[in-house]
């Protein structure tokens, strides 16, 4: 492990760019973190290459960011995959952008099965639909819930969901 972080990072970039020349990749680096933005249409191909070509064998986290009111933001939803190569210790952040009404991406469960609950949570909170997921439903909120509460346009106190219960009185119980 004589390689320092910058060398490993650029090596990852070179390998992924040479193995997927037709996928537009925007690479950047910040404080030793390698980040790459990939179009949503190629995300599954890219993630598979990350696992098979560069050995990122663990999906640390999969989450989503809503850029609704962020200044200078072009796209609304940003999907973030945090990858780790357990052998080398290298990390890679893969991002892709999504916009309404097409909030559908292929599921990463066929690459890393650990994406199961992470994708369900992203659907639960942001409404991102992952196609090909083996058990696609809400993770935390009740199945009857119809909103996606971590979106920036969702009011903090809800849309009346917490008032939507029958009242049990003494005489009825």
């Amino acid at each position: 492990m004589a390689l320092d972080n910058t060398t490993v990072g650029s090596e990852v970039q070179i390998r992924l760019q040479s193995s997927l020349p037709d996928v537009a990749q925007t690479w950047s680096s910040f404080q030793g973190q390698e980040r790459v933005v990939v179009p949503a249409s190629h995300i599954l191909t890219f993630l598979k290459a990350c696992r098979d070509v560069t050995g990122f064998d663990q999906l640390i986290d999969l989450t989503c960011v809503d850029h609704l009111e962020m200044q200078g933001a072009v796209d609304r939803f940003e999907l973030v995959y945090c990858l780790l190569s357990v052998d080398v210790g290298t990390r890679l952040i893969v991002k892709t952008y999504l916009n309404e009404p097409n909030l559908t991406v292929p599921s990463a469960t066929q690459v890393w099965f650990g994406a199961d609950w992470l994708e369900r949570e992203a659907y639960d909170m942001f409404g991102i639909v992952f196609e090909g997921h083996p058990n696609f439903k809400r993770l935390l909120l009740p199945d009857e819930f119809v909103s996606f509460p971590l979106r920036k346009d969702y009011p903090q106190q809800g849309r009346g969901e917490r008032h939507n219960f029958p009242i049990i009185t003494r005489s009825k119980s």
Binding site: V146, N164, T169
Partner: protein, 200 residues
Amino acid sequence: MASEVKKQLGDNIFLTTLDAAASWARSNSLWPMPFATACCGIELMSTAASRHDLSRFGSEVMRFSPRQCDLMIVAGRVAMKMLPVLQRIWLQMPEPKWCISMGACACSGGVFDTYAVVQGIDRFMPVDVYIPGCPPRPEQLIKAIVDLQEMIKAGGTYNAREFALRDSAEGPARFDEEELIRIRERNGLKLDSPKYDPVH
């Protein structure tokens, strides 16, 4: 004659109503159902443990089956996903039964004024005693149980049917249905979203 009776029986017999005797017995053998969802549950455990020793007040028999309990202690915030469970457990408890709402969150939602937390369980189920505090100290819970015992002794019940008269919600006023519809329309939500039904 009266003096003869008194001489014979002395203080060994006292006259009362069956009602008062039953209430006295009930008040001193409360079986709590610990519905502990948060940090208030730690105080509840502390109250039952040796330092504060809830058994001094005859209510130490915590049971985790609602069928065996007659005092629900709701300790902690109740998420909206949890409320149907809470209501179902309450309905499973046999009568007569009582409820203590312990802590700021169970009473009013506390600091969690968000979409996911019920703003006071008394909006949706009966509550007899409220305990403020975040979390309340064990002494406060003991005081609440002593107060509840006084209530039970004063209330009296032959068959627990005196509750039949209490047929309206006991908490704050029901959140206005019209307001609910207005909020939903303003946010572009469909009105035919499913209703919750904890019983069926």
